[in-house]
């Protein structure tokens, strides 16, 4: 070790290294407060290692720390606490009839908020976040219901699903009149014209006239003589202005050719009855509830 060199100007020790023949650097120590701060953080870190999970161990484990802290446990506890805080509401919802929930000033805000959250998580992907639906997925805001828009009917549909494979599911389906050769193409076109005429949308009156008898022979069993449908079998009202699969002639023809039967999962196994109750009230309140 070379002897300490003291810079004559500042009186401070140099690092001893010389650059470019004449450049030297003063050896200025860190300020004391800075140094002690970093020592304190080192002490802190060691304390942290002892108290909290810190080091990965070979084989996938890690040091657990003597406080046995786990973020997962904290979250689990927080979720449990939140559930406990909601428990009184859940109990009341369970004990209250759906009709009464809608009129209950205390429960309604909770049910609406909860219902909206559950709807967004589970129903939104098909029906849209606001329940506006799209082609093949019913708009839940309107007053047209395939399987009924009463609270009971909605609750049943959500719980058991539609053509979901659940034993209690709503399961009727429309025959494939074209694909299975039940009607000839010309007959399908005529029937479609007649269907459109029910809501004043026919483009060919003669064809619609021919379709009337075909409709009576093939469709009235489910859709009714006046075409107003039957919620008991999920047959839509063909005389109104709402078309799940489109209102153009080609859309209606396609429906007759292929038959229709959308699928909704049964939610009974995934959501608890109270959640389904909240969801039912929410869907009902979107505006179409009967």
């Amino acid at each position: 070790m070379a002897e300490k060199e003291i810079d004559s100007v500042t009186g401070v020790e140099t690092t001893g290294h010389v650059w470019d023949g004449d450049l030297k650097e003063l050896n200025k120590p860190l300020p004391k407060w800075w140094l002690y701060t970093i020592y304190a953080t080192i002490v802190w870190a060691i304390g942290y290692w002892i108290l909290y999970p810190a080091w990965p161990l070979p084989g996938g484990g890690y040091t657990k720390g003597i406080w046995d802290y786990s973020q997962r446990a904290v979250v689990t506890q927080e979720v449990a606490d939140a559930k406990a805080a909601q428990a009184s509401y859940f109990k009341k919802i369970e004990e209250t009839q759906l009709e009464d929930i809608l009129k209950n000033e205390e429960l309604l805000p909770f049910v609406m908020a909860g219902g909206a959250a559950v709807f967004g998580d589970n129903c939104g992907p098909c029906h849209g976040k606001g329940g506006a639906g799209s082609v093949g997925y019913p708009n839940l805001n309107d007053d047209d219901w395939l399987w009924g828009g009463t609270l009971e009917a909605i609750e049943y549909s959500i719980t058991n699903g539609i053509r979901s494979g659940h034993p209690e599911a709503r399961d009727m389906a429309m025959p494939r009149f074209g694909l299975d050769g039940l009607l000839k193409p010309q007959e399908i076109a005529d029937t479609a014209q007649y269907v459109l005429s029910l809501s004043g949308g026919a483009t060919d009156e003669a064809a619609a006239g021919r379709g009337k008898q075909l409709f009576a022979d093939n469709c009235v069993a489910c859709h009714g003589e006046d075409g107003k449908g039957n919620p008991a079998v999920g047959a839509p009202n063909l005389a109104d202005s709402i078309w799940l699969y489109g209102s153009r002639l080609a859309d209606v023809e396609r429906s007759i050719v292929t038959g229709r039967g959308g699928v909704m999962p049964s939610w009974g196994g995934r959501l608890d009855p109270v959640t389904i109750k909240m969801l039912t009230a929410y869907v009902h309140s979107l505006g179409g509830g009967q």
């Binding site: 004559s8 000033e105 309604l108 805000p109 606001g130 708009n139 805001n141 709402i242």
Partner: protein, 481 residues
């Protein structure tokens, strides 16, 4: 280069940082000291006692006159109640305070710093305590320079324990502003108070002790940004604590009976320096460190009286007067200056805006949100329907009823989810918000009357008890036509 280096060999360059020299302010006597004691008693009295003032607001509401109730998002100032969404009133008060500070500074310098700044007031209190235990300036200096005797230990311990007690009381008073004071006081002792209350108590105990007891003038000089901004707010007409050098110089010690001719009034007694809590010499002129507490005025006046010279060698004075050819004993204060006029007008304007906003403050807040997903719904009979979320906020302390209605939409029908009769009175609990889903339907027969994608109409909210009506302009959405 080499020559320069050699020339400076052995010489140490000026230190970039000078260690603090502890200041031992001497007790001053006089008018400004009395004013400062009065300000200290009043401001600290308000700070420590305000949370204990009660105010009856009826059942279910806090009876604390001054309460920042963050838990319930409400601020209570006596009869005034500010809700979270009205926090802009606080912004207005802050703007007014800032402008007031500018105005005072333009007129009379660092009045805030010298008299009312918490740092000044608490430092003053801490020095008072220090003086009680350790004596005045000379005694304190002797004690600090002396050896650690039993006397020194108990005097120092007494000082620091008293400082800590004041600090705890200060931190304690702060948390009382945020929660019912009598309840919290008990909770603090039984260990049931919220953790955040203990945390803030600890923080403010620490800051009071460190800033008021230990750091003192260093806070003003090194930590506070205000002195740096301030210079931009003085001008030549501002009244500042000033040493009138035209009268004082040349300074020299004076023996009784000596003539006063050919010399200044300053007897170089350094009384102004020893009382200064910032440790400066006011005779060096206007300085960043000077908080303009005016204690040097008191000290100097005392000396002038004893040597038989006129008062006011150090006084509130303007640059304009000091530098004028003829000096006035009492400077003329020119108040009609652009910045003073401007600050005053701005304060008037903000006050006016706030007063107008306050007068028009309604006890009901109605917000209407249109459903956007979907914007409109076609019903089976071809009618169109729009959905709205109407939020009624009742700021009164009793239940109120409201009636909803619509106007401007021919043939339209309104329904409220949860109500069989949409025109029935809807009750909103006291201090509460009620959200309602309102559906407006235009029947198919009236669809021709709609003006394309958006038809303006109004939602009318009527307060059932006092008949107050508010109109809310909305659009009925439909398909493009």
């Amino acid at each position: 280069m080499n020559q320069t280096t050699e020339a400076t060999v052995g010489q140490r360059p000026m230190e970039a940082y000078i260690g603090r020299k502890k200041i031992y302010p001497k007790l001053a006597h006089g008018f400004y000291r009395k004013v400062k004691w009065a300000v200290l008693v009043v401001t600290l009295g308000i700070y420590y006692l305000l949370p204990w003032l009660r105010w009856d607001r009826g059942p279910n509401l806090p009876d604390q006159a001054f309460l920042l109730d963050f838990a319930n998002q409400r601020l209570f100032f006596g009869p005034i109640e500010i809700w979270a969404q009205e926090l802009y009133y606080i912004t207005g008060i802050l703007i007014l305070s800032a402008l007031g500070l500018f105005l005072v500074t333009a007129v009379a310098g660092r009045m805030w710093c010298g008299y009312t700044c918490p740092q000044t007031v608490w430092t003053d209190l801490m020095i008072l305590v220090e003086r009680f235990w350790q004596g005045d300036r000379n005694a304190r200096m002797r004690l600090d320079n002396g050896r650690w005797t039993f006397e020194k230990i108990w005097k120092k311990a007494g000082t620091h324990i008293s400082w800590l007690l004041i600090s705890v009381a200060t931190g304690g008073a702060l948390v009382f502003y945020f929660r019912d004071a009598p309840t919290l006081l008990v909770e603090l002792f039984t260990g049931e108070a919220p953790a955040v209350a203990y945390a803030f108590l600890a923080i403010f105990t620490g800051t009071t002790y460190l800033l008021g007891g230990i750091a003192r003038e260093q806070v003003c000089i090194y930590m506070c940004p205000w002195p740096r901004i301030q210079a931009a707010m003085f001008d030549r007409e501002s009244l500042l604590v000033t040493y009138r050098d035209y009268r004082g110089e040349p300074r020299a010690p004076h023996k009784k009976g000596q003539p006063w001719d050919g010399r200044g009034d300053c007897v170089d007694c350094k009384a102004c320096v020893t009382v200064c809590p910032m440790g400066i010499d006011i005779r060096d002129g206007s300085q960043l460190e000077c908080i303009q507490c005016a204690l040097c005025i008191d000290a100097c006046n005392d000396i002038m009286k004893r040597v038989g010279r006129p008062q006011g060698l150090i006084a509130y004075d303007t640059f304009e007067n000091v530098e004028a050819p003829v000096h006035l004993a009492h400077p003329k204060v020119k108040l009609f200056r652009p910045r003073i006029v401007l600050y005053s007008l701005m304060m008037l304007l903000v006050t006016g805006i706030m007063a107008a906003a306050w007068m028009n403050r309604s006890s009901t807040d109605v917000t209407v949100q249109q459903d956007r997903n979907p914007m409109f719904v076609k019903l089976s009979d071809g009618s169109l329907r729009n959905g709205f979320t109407v939020k009624l906020l009742n700021k009164e302390h009793h239940v109120r009823g409201f009636q909803l209605g619509i106007a401007g939409l021919e043939g339209a029908k309104m329904t409220v989810v949860g109500f069989d009769d949409p025109t029935s009175t809807i009750k909103v609990a006291s201090d509460n918000l009620r959200a309602l889903k309102v559906l407006v339907t235009v029947p198919v027969a009236m669809r021709d009357k709609l003006k394309g994608a958006a038809t303006p109409f109004q939602l009318i909210v009527t307060c059932a008890e006092n008949g107050d009506v508010t109109h809310h302009d909305l659009n009925f959405r439909g398909p493009d036509q």
